[in-house]
């Protein structure tokens, strides 16, 4: 099966990196809005506020990121939580922009950009999960993950549109 892909608009990659650095040493989180692969394929309407990018059958195009508050009560240095009211807000924002909710991003302060067991336990199907590693306050590796249908693990996807400053890709887990 082909690897799934997520294309980030330039400003989206930058926003995620900045958000992760601003909240360091706490985790940041936010929503990704754009066009899913199937929806984007064959679409030619460029009047949407979200716009359209070079999507393909295996890739989605994230054109907007919406920073959300991390409301976890378990310690924001190692956890994030998007509460239901903010999730609703993200769905509403996606609708307003003429796109759809593609997934969420969060940071791992001083840890690799690979999903944890906690990420796996709380993951939703079909969503793209972008993780940015923020080491000593500087955003480094950024990766994207998709939950397997049987919830057993994540598949790593291809993240495009980000100039990755770290030459070594994050080691993968849960495969």
């Amino acid at each position: 099966m082909a690897r799934r892909a997520l294309q980030l608009a330039d400003n989206v990659a930058l926003l995620i990196r900045r958000h992760g650095e601003e909240t360091f040493p706490h985790e940041c989180c936010g929503a990704l809005i754009g066009h899913a692969a199937a929806a984007a394929e064959g679409s030619s309407d460029e009047s949407d506020a979200v716009g359209h990018g070079p999507s393909s059958a295996s890739g989605s195009w994230a054109t907007a990121a919406v920073p959300l508050p991390n409301t976890t009560e378990e310690g924001p240095r190692r956890r994030f939580l998007v509460r239901p009211s903010d999730y609703r807000l993200a769905e509403q924002r996606a609708s307003e922009l003429g796109g759809e909710l593609l997934g969420f991003y969060h940071s791992h302060p001083d840890h690799p950009a690979r999903p944890s067991q906690f990420d796996l336990d709380h993951a939703w199907p079909t969503f793209a999960y972008v993780i940015v590693s923020v080491m000593a306050g500087v955003a480094r590796v950024m990766t994207v993950w998709f939950l397997k249908e049987d919830r057993s693990s994540f598949d790593e996807g291809d993240l495009n549109g980000d100039e990755n400053p770290d030459p070594d890709p994050a080691a993968t887990v849960h495969r």
Binding site: L81, Y87, F118, W124, T126
Partner: protein
């Protein structure tokens, strides 16, 4: 008696891409059982291996979280709207040393 259920984006692939579907039942529990019978792919994402609703699955009766009502025994009517709303959570691995500090 059919009640409207609003489906969040990540679960729509399991409801034939429908944003809203209908299910039958006198309580939230019965309604969700009917929903997961009609759309079997939803079950693994709504319930854990013990058959309990997953902690990050929030069910609202109109604008009320059923956790603050009668949970899955909360009665429903055809006029109600049920919403399934995700909590999105995650975070990094906890190192053994941190775990020992938090759980001495």
């Amino acid at each position: 008696m059919a009640t409207k259920i609003l489906i969040p984006t990540p679960l729509r692939p399991f409801t034939d891409k429908q944003e809203a579907v209908e299910a039958s039942g006198a309580t939230i529990g019965e309604l969700l059982a009917d929903l997961t019978t009609k759309y079997a792919g939803l079950k693994a994402h709504l319930y854990n291996e013990q058959g309990k609703l997953r902690s990050f699955v929030n069910v609202y009766l109109n604008d009320e979280d059923i956790r603050y009502m009668q949970k899955e025994l909360t009665p429903v009517s055809a006029e109600d709207t049920i919403s399934i709303i995700p909590s999105v959570a995650g975070g990094r691995e906890i190192q053994n040393s941190e775990f020992r500090i938090q759980n001495p």
